[in-house]
């Protein structure tokens, strides 16, 4: 700003000259009517005005010029410069004293006005920053808003560096290239962070750095570093501006700390929910594991102790029950395992290209003993594209959905499976002719441990939750609805995946080639 003042100085002297000339013109007009002593007053008025508005230099200039012109133009002998009358020296002295006094007063007033204005601006800027920050919870949002404001207020670009668990800083927001490719700049940041004081450009520590590194101070020590690459370091280091920058850094640190606390609260809440879920799982699982186990124990102990009294038919019936319950137990354990893998994030998709028709076939094959002679129809057009999925997992989804349909639909009614190609996806729907879903439960049934009103038909309420987990892991969707005409319909939509492979037509003899053409065209 000093530069600005200096550049404008000649203009103020010009103004000062104008004022004196104005006073002279007025005096020339007043001369015939008033005493000379009164004419001096007009000059004094001009000097006071110059002192108030233009500062000391122009005011002194105006005083000297005023006395000179007064003497030259109005004091006889006129149009000569000889100071014949020493009383005008007193006039000059008074004028100079007034100029100096008033200009000092004016300057102080100006400084006060300016600092009041700056205070107002600063609080407005900080208020707008904190207003923005209050609305943001996440770390990246906070940092982005902070850097945006910094750019607006200080016309400087900056980056924020945050420490990892070991206390090593890395760039968390802003353009990392501001720090340059060199390690030293990061070293300065690290030093400022470890020492908890500003360093780098404009400070006494490592001033030859590219950036000014300010610690972001939280209530429990440094949270990170704000590294500012200023457009003009001298302006940035002007005491007022620097204080504003400090306040700015504090605001950012405060917001960061608040965000972190919110995160911790959220983590604690999730932990609590997980605990709740785990105990729900435990009670649910132990109930559902015990039922088949009770049957198996009962049957086998009966056979052990009273084998002789049982008819062969009774014995066979009991053993069949035990075998069925054991199979149920096995499915249950399988679902529990799948759920654990889904939850722990240990699920790794082994994708390759598969035909959905083939996976439907595999699920039906595995369901054979459970299904008995229940009619199942599959409608899958041959032109369905291959999809990029994990076959074992998708077969599990189809198996669970079909098992669910078998469980809820009356035994004579058919289960209908339909596969269709959509936009970049394949859609499979499984429809049963059972009682359908209770209204409002279409989304709930995919929640863990949810049991339908029919309830105790076995299962922990995990089967559909697993379906959803697997389908969503594939980037697909699953939904349930009541079908028109009764029964429930489950639909999964699986994206085809990118870069579908091509299988070139088989080079073969003519009749066989025609056959392939027939297949493709069907």
């Amino acid at each position: 700003m000093l530069v600005g003042v200096r550049r404008a100085a000649w203009r103020e002297y010009a103004w000062s000259l104008l004022i004196v000339l104005g006073s002279t013109a007025a005096d020339a007009f007043l001369l015939p009517h008033f005493e000379r002593a009164n004419l001096v007053m007009v000059y004094l008025l001009g000097v006071m005005w110059a002192a108030l508005r233009l500062g000391r230099g122009p005011a002194i200039f105006a005083s000297v010029l005023s006395v000179f012109l007064f003497d030259f133009l109005f004091v006889p002998p006129r149009f000569t410069l000889g100071v014949s009358d020493s009383q005008y020296l007193v006039t000059l002295g008074v004028m100079l004293a007034a100029a100096i006094l008033i200009s000092a007063l004016g300057a102080r007033l100006k400084i006060q006005v300016r600092s009041a204005r700056q205070d107002a601006r600063r609080s407005r800027l900080l208020a707008s920053l904190s207003g923005d920050l209050v609305a943001i919870q996440d770390r990246d949002g906070i940092l982005a808003a902070s850097l945006r404001h910094l750019q607006d207020i200080f016309e400087s670009r900056a980056v924020v560096l945050l420490p990892d668990a070991a206390g090593r800083l890395s760039v968390a927001a802003g353009d990392a290239s501001l720090l340059g490719p060199d390690a030293p700049e990061r070293g300065v940041a690290q030093w400022a962070f470890d020492a908890g004081q500003a360093a780098g450009l404009g400070t006494t520590t490592l001033p030859e750095s590219r950036c000014l590194h300010l610690p972001l101070r939280g209530s429990k020590g440094e949270l990170g570093i704000l590294a500012v690459a200023p457009a003009d370091i001298r302006r940035l280091m002007a005491p007022d501006t620097f204080r504003l920058l400090q306040a700015f850094a504090n605001q950012t640190a405060l917001a960061l700390e608040r965000g972190r606390l919110a995160d911790e609260a959220e983590r604690a809440r999730i932990q609590h929910e997980t605990e709740k879920l785990r105990s729900a799982l435990l009670s649910s699982v132990s109930h559902d594991l015990r039922t088949p186990l009770a049957v198996i124990t009962g049957v086998t102990s009966t056979l052990l102790e009273s084998e002789a009294t049982l008819s062969p038919a009774e014995r066979h019936e009991m053993l069949r029950t035990a075998a069925e319950e054991a199979a149920r137990l096995n499915r249950l354990v399988g679902n529990l395992l799948a759920m654990t893998r889904l939850e722990s994030g240990a699920l790794e998709l082994k994708r390759s290209w598969h035909s959905i028709e083939e996976l439907i076939g595999a699920a039906l094959h595995r369901l054979e003993s459970l299904r008995g002679d229940r009619p199942v129809t599959v409608d899958a057009p041959p032109e369905l594209p291959l999809i990029s999925v994990d076959d074992v997992l998708i077969e599990q989804v189809l198996f669970n959905l079909l098992e669910n349909a078998l469980k809820h639909a009356p035994s004579a009614q058919p289960i209908q499976i339909r596969a269709r190609a959509g936009a970049g996806a394949v859609e499979v729907s499984i429809r049963d002719r059972g009682p359908g879903l209770a209204p409002g439960t279409e989304a709930l049934i995919f929640e863990k441990f949810y049991r339908g009103a029919a309830g105790s038909s076995g299962g922990v309420g995990l089967g559909l939750a697993i379906c959803r987990g697997i389908v969503e892991a594939h980037g697909g969707r699953i939904r349930a609805a009541n079908a028109v005409g009764g029964g429930a319909e489950f639909t999964i939509t699986l994206p085809v995946g990118e870069d579908a492979p091509r299988v070139e037509a088989e080079p073969s003899l003519v009749p066989e080639a025609r056959e392939i053409g027939d297949l493709d065209g069907r």
């Binding site: 598969h354 439907i360 392939i516």
Partner: protein, 234 residues
């Protein structure tokens, strides 16, 4: 069964869990097997060398040696049929064991009927090695004549493309046994195609449409998810 009684096949069970042995021993003895037991991989390898069993039933989860390693070491010197026992969700173990030379697998928990069916397939295949390949295979209405390269369905000739035929023939030569994706791809398309499993999907779909009554509910060309394909015998 009558000729089996004269010389009952000797089965070597390599399994460390006593409960499993308590179920397997009587079940297999009751169905015409002589049973030999080993509790560790090393013991299994020793027994296989000294007693020359007709078939090996090998659990993949052994305390000392990896079951896949046992398979590999057995295959260094013997073609004895190996049936591995594995768990669901461990498909890559099954594939590794099969690619290392195991003949087939059963998934825990399994019923005795399934186990016996797999064992019979394995035994029949090994007895076949001596007197050449069976050239004809009848599966319900489907008949495959490998010598004449003819496939008929309910007496009508089925026209297959050369690749379709090679794929079906490969499965037929290993009827009842699971074939991994890479085994089929190598045999039918060549080693360069070992990972191009989409070829397999497309051609299996074509075969099913020509040979199955309902291609979505196949009776013959069975998919084993994550492992491969099997031509079912029943």
């Amino acid at each position: 069964m009558a000729d089996e009684k004269a010389q009952e096949p000797l089965i070597l069970i390599v399994e460390d869990e006593v409960q499993m042995l308590r179920f397997l021993r009587p079940a297999l003895q009751g169905h015409g097997f002589r049973v030999l037991e080993a509790r560790t991989g090393e013991e299994g390898l020793r027994e296989a060398a000294t007693r020359a069993p007709d078939v090996v039933l090998l659990d993949l989860g052994l305390p000392d040696l990896d079951g896949i390693e046992v398979t590999r070491r057995l295959r260094e010197w013997t073609q004895v049929p190996i049936l591995v026992i594995s768990a669901r969700g461990r498909e890559e173990d099954k594939v590794a064991a099969l690619d290392a030379g195991a003949d087939d697998y059963v998934t825990k928990p399994f019923g005795v009927r399934e186990l016996l069916a797999r064992l019979r397939v394995a035994l029949r295949r090994s007895s076949r090695v001596g007197d050449g390949e069976a050239s004809r295979l009848t599966l319900g209405e489907l008949e495959i004549d490998l010598e004449k390269r003819r496939v008929t369905l309910a007496g009508d000739a089925v026209h297959l493309t050369p690749i379709e035929y090679r794929l079906l023939a490969e499965l037929a030569r290993n009827a009842g046994k699971v074939m991994t994706h890479s085994q089929l791809l190598r045999q039918v398309w060549g080693p360069a195609y070992a990972h191009q499993s989409h070829y397999l999907r497309v051609y299996m779909a074509q075969l099913r449409r020509k040979l199955e009554a309902d291609s979505a509910q196949p009776k013959h060309l069975i998919t084993e998810p994550g492992v491969g394909y099997r031509l079912a015998e029943s």
